[in-house]
Each structure stands twice: as C-alpha cells, then as structure tokens.
C-alpha cells in the first residue's frame, strides 16, 4: 500500500537535491549554510519516521540555529536570459502549459479514482491520504512530461528547484513550524485559557453582543493561532453553544457554519497563516512579507461585519 511515507520520501529527495546543488555552487557565499539547512530538512523527511522524537527535535533546532546565526544565502540569478525565455516561449507555444496543468488534473483524477483501486484486497493507496498522495504522484508525472517534452539536462529540475526554494528560503518551513506550534499550544492548554479571558472581559448582555463576540472572537483567535480549525472548538464550546444556542435559542447549523467562516476572515489578516499569506509573498518575490495581508485586510474586515450581520439575522429565526 502506498502511504504518506511515499510523499515524505519524495520531499526528502527533493530537499537533499536542493542541498547538493547549493553545496556545489562555488559562486554562493552561503553555500555551506544553505546546504546544512536543506540537508537537515531532508533528514527529517527521509529518516524522521524512524528516529526518536528527541533526535528529530534537535535536528529542527539545529536547522533553525543555522538560519538564525549563520544566515541563509538568497536565490541565484535566473539560469536563462529573458530573450532566451521569450524565444523558447514562442517556440513551444501553449504546449508549455501542458506539464503545469498536469499537476491539478492528475491530482483531481487521483483523488477521484485511486480510492477504489485495490490489489489482492488491500487498497493501493492509503484511503485517508488519497489527496496528498495524488498530489505527490501528480508532481512526479508532471516532471516526467516536462522532461520528455523539453529534453533539458537531467540536473535542470534540481537546479531550478534550488533557485525557487532559495527564493522562498526559511518561509518554506514556516507553515510546518506553525502547525508544530499549534500542537504545543494544545499540549499546554492555551485554547481554554484564551477563551476564559474572552468570556470574563466581554459584555454579553444582548443577543447582538453575544453574536458579535463570537464572530469577532473567532477572527481574533484565528489570527493568534493562524488557523480557524484550532479556534473553532474553543470558541464554540466557550461562547457559541452555551450562549448563542442554549441561552438565546439560536440555530446550531447557522452558528457553526458562519462561525467557521468568521474565522476564515481572521486567516486573511494574520502572518500566522503563513501558508496563505507569508509563503506567497516570498514566492512572488515581494519585498514586504506582509504585502498579501495588507491587500486582504479590507476584504477581511468588511466580510467579518457581513458575517456578524448574517448570523444575527438568521441564527434566531
């Protein structure tokens, strides 16, 4: 059975490749630091499932120290000039889109059909991880399509992956680190403490103030945790169910659905949701890492107000 370990091995091989390309790049002044950073990251993917947790923890701490003390080098210049790329774009035409669109297409097909494939009674892929495994498979297939079509030197994919990974740099690891922080928060019981503070300090005398506290609280708590999924159980157990549903007789489905979406408004406005906000800023080479958040704040605030109104109008009907 293909499990998530398949994706881990792919990630590990790619990170190891990025480390090796860095190590061999004599023009980079930080090549040893970058190679150590991506190399250690590769180890967590390739060996992480077999090493003791303590060793894994140390590996990650060393990785962060290399970055914080040694600093990482930025991306190398593009491997081809703009004129060359424009000529290539003319030569290949819209066929260039084929490998790129292979990724979503194969992911989609895999998600739909791989679940049903089984060999001798055992499923071919872990049914719980079909989407992630399909995504992993799709990138491999897309790369093969690209290699067959363009016939570049074989090291080209790794050299290009290194260029992009070093452009994103440490931000590539941030979403995973935030997920780990969320787990540590859960371990230390941070959620209930924050909900307790909100309940103690906010006036909850009218239906509207209760609804607004819940929606705004969902957004704020999501901004702190970086994830509406972490905020939802805490805020709903603290305010949604006892006050909106039990005390004021609100509708559970409306409260829960609109409550979660209020959390999503918070996701638009926080650097803690690094996957959506910080990573694209790095990926699009924006000098201000909060540039995407800045664009999203007006929509986030207006939509939060709209959500509060939607809930107030429909939840008590």
């Amino acid at each position: 059975m293909i499990t998530l370990e398949f994706v881990n091995v792919l990630m590990g091989l790619m990170m190891a490749g990025v480390a090796i390309v860095n190590l061999r790049d004599r023009t980079s002044r930080k090549r040893y630091n970058n190679a150590a950073f991506w190399g250690l990251y590769a180890v967590t993917f390739l060996a992480g499932s077999y090493l003791p947790n303590f060793v894994n923890g140390l590996l990650v701490i060393v990785m962060v120290l290399v970055m914080a003390i040694g600093k990482l080098g930025g991306a190398p210049p593009e491997s081809s000039t703009r004129a060359v790329r424009e000529a290539s774009a003319r030569r290949w035409g819209n066929r260039l889109f084929i490998p790129a669109l292979t990724i979503p297409t194969v992911t989609l097909l895999g998600t739909l059909f791989l679940k049903r494939v089984s060999l001798n009674g055992t499923p071919l892929v872990d049914p719980k991880q079909v989407t992630l495994i399909s995504l992993g498979l799709s990138t491999v297939i897309a790369l093969i399509v690209g290699l067959v079509m363009l016939r570049p030197p074989l090291r080209a994919p790794m050299v290009e992956a290194r260029r992009l990974m070093d452009a994103v740099s440490w931000a590539a690891v941030l979403p995973q680190m935030l997920a780990a922080l969320g787990a540590m928060f859960a371990l230390a019981g941070v959620g209930p403490i924050v909900a307790g503070i909100i309940e103690r300090w906010i006036p909850l005398h009218t239906a509207l103030s209760v609804v607004a506290t819940y929606t705004v609280g969902m957004a704020l708590f999501t901004m702190i945790m970086g994830n509406a999924f972490a905020a939802f159980p805490v805020m709903t157990a603290g305010i949604g169910l006892p006050l909106i549903v039990h005390q004021y007789g609100g509708n559970v489905a409306v409260m829960a659905a609109v409550g979660m979406l209020s959390g999503f408004c918070g996701t638009l406005m926080t650097p803690m949701a690094a996957n959506f906000n910080i990573v694209p800023a790095a990926l699009l080479e924006l000098p201000n890492e909060n540039a995407v958040i800045k664009v999203q704040i007006p929509t986030g605030l207006m939509l939060l107000a709209a959500n509060t109104l939607i809930m107030y109008v429909f939840v008590f009907r």
Binding site: N8, L10, N53, F54, G136, A172, Q176, L181, A183, V292
Partner: protein
C-alpha cells in the same frame, strides 16, 4: 496564565520584525517549558509535532517542474497569451480567477489553484501583463501590488468557496465537534449556510477588484508624472 508566554513571544517577535521562523520555534519551546515539562520532554514533544506536520509543505513538490517550465519561458508565454486578449485588465482577470476559484472550490476541486502551481507561474504574470498592455511600463511598487492582489484572489476564492462543498475538512470538523456535544447536523445544512457568506465575499472582493483598475491607472500616472 504561564502557557500564554508563547503567544506573547509571537506577538512581540512579529511586531519587532524578528525572523518569523526563529520566533515561532522559540514560542513552541517556551510554551512546552511553561507547561512544566523537562527540557528533554519538550524537545521530544516539539520533534514529534514537527514530524507529524510533514504533510503541510507538500506543495513544494511542484517546484522542480514549475522551475523547469519557467526557464523554458512559461511566465513569458502566460504574458503573450494575455496580451492577445484586448479586453483583459488586471481587475477583470483577477475577478474571473476569483469566480473560477470560488466555483471550483465549491465543487470540491480545491487542488485546481494554489500559489506555487497557479499564482506564481500563471496568474501573477498575466495580471502584470494585462496592466502593462494598458498602462505601459510599471514601477516595482505597482508590480508588487498587482502580485499581492493575485495571491489574495486565490486565498479568498478558496476560503469562501470550499465550505460549500460537503466533504471538505472544515465541514467535517464542525460536524464531528457538534456531534460530540450532542447535536446531529447534516453536512448539507452546514454547506447551505456557507452560501450567504460566499456571495458576500464575491461581492465585496469583486467590487474591490473592479475598482483596482482605476486605482492602478492613477498610481501609474502619478509615478510616470514624477519620472518626467
């Protein structure tokens, strides 16, 4: 109250613009220590949490092929395509992408978008090219603003589309949580109540995108005026 030290570290660290990866690591370790655990326990718990989250960064697997295509002129091709469509403006293009992203997410097809696969190689260069065709040479500031808008359209389309699909993670989480608390709610009911917000999201952000073209025109005129 002591476990809240992690939040304090994050808030101060981010506002002092210390490197976020270092801040978050420090916050995770401090939170563990504040929960009265030994350093060895804390490092083990931290290592386990990091390893358990390894599926978070899988999108990076798209980079070898995306990088390869970029060096073969993928972005340049995206620009050429958009320059042939004369009606295309940055605002209209992003509005169309927002609509498409929201609709496909509502059908559960969330993997059709994303920043490494769609926004960097295709949507952002197209949005830039559309502005260049209309307004001429762009300043870096304008270029960066357009790119940020491309990323935002992807996020907003995803967030406020996916909850209309009944088998998405957030709907399942809501249902599971409510069931634990003694309420049985059908996923379809939850999905229906995501529709009013989805419409509001499209109207609000769509209106901002409709106004974006005018604002970009003013911005470019101002910077060109300054250059002359």
């Amino acid at each position: 109250m002591l476990p809240l030290i992690g939040i304090l570290i994050v808030v101060t660290g981010f506002s002092l613009r210390v490197n976020p990866l270092a801040v978050v690591t420090a916050a995770a370790l401090a939170t563990g220590l504040a929960a009265h655990r030994s350093p060895v326990d804390v490092i083990s718990a931290f290592g386990k949490a990091f390893i358990d989250s390894r599926s978070v960064p899988v999108v990076w697997l798209a980079l070898p092929v995306i990088g390869l295509l970029e060096s073969a002129g993928l972005k340049e091709r995206a620009r050429m395509v958009i320059s042939k469509i004369h009606a295309a403006t940055t605002g209209r293009l992003l509005l169309a992408y927002l609509a498409l992203r929201q609709l496909t997410s509502a059908l559960g097809l969330t993997s059709l978008g994303g920043h490494p696969q769609m926004v960097r190689p295709l949507i952002a260069p197209m949005a830039e090219a559309a502005a260049e065709n209309r307004l001429g040479e762009l300043s870096d500031h304008t270029r960066h603003r357009i790119r940020a808008h491309a990323a935002a359209a992807d996020n907003i389309g995803l967030f406020f589309g996916e909850d209309i699909f009944i088998a998405i993670g957030s709907i399942l989480l809501i249902r599971g949580f409510l069931e634990q608390n003694g309420f049985r709610v059908e996923p379809a009911t939850l999905a229906i109540w995501a529709i009013p917000t989805a419409i509001c999201a499209f109207v609000i952000h769509g209106a901002r995108l409709a106004l974006l073209d005018r604002s970009l025109r003013k911005e470019v005129a101002r910077s060109q005026g300054r250059a002359e």
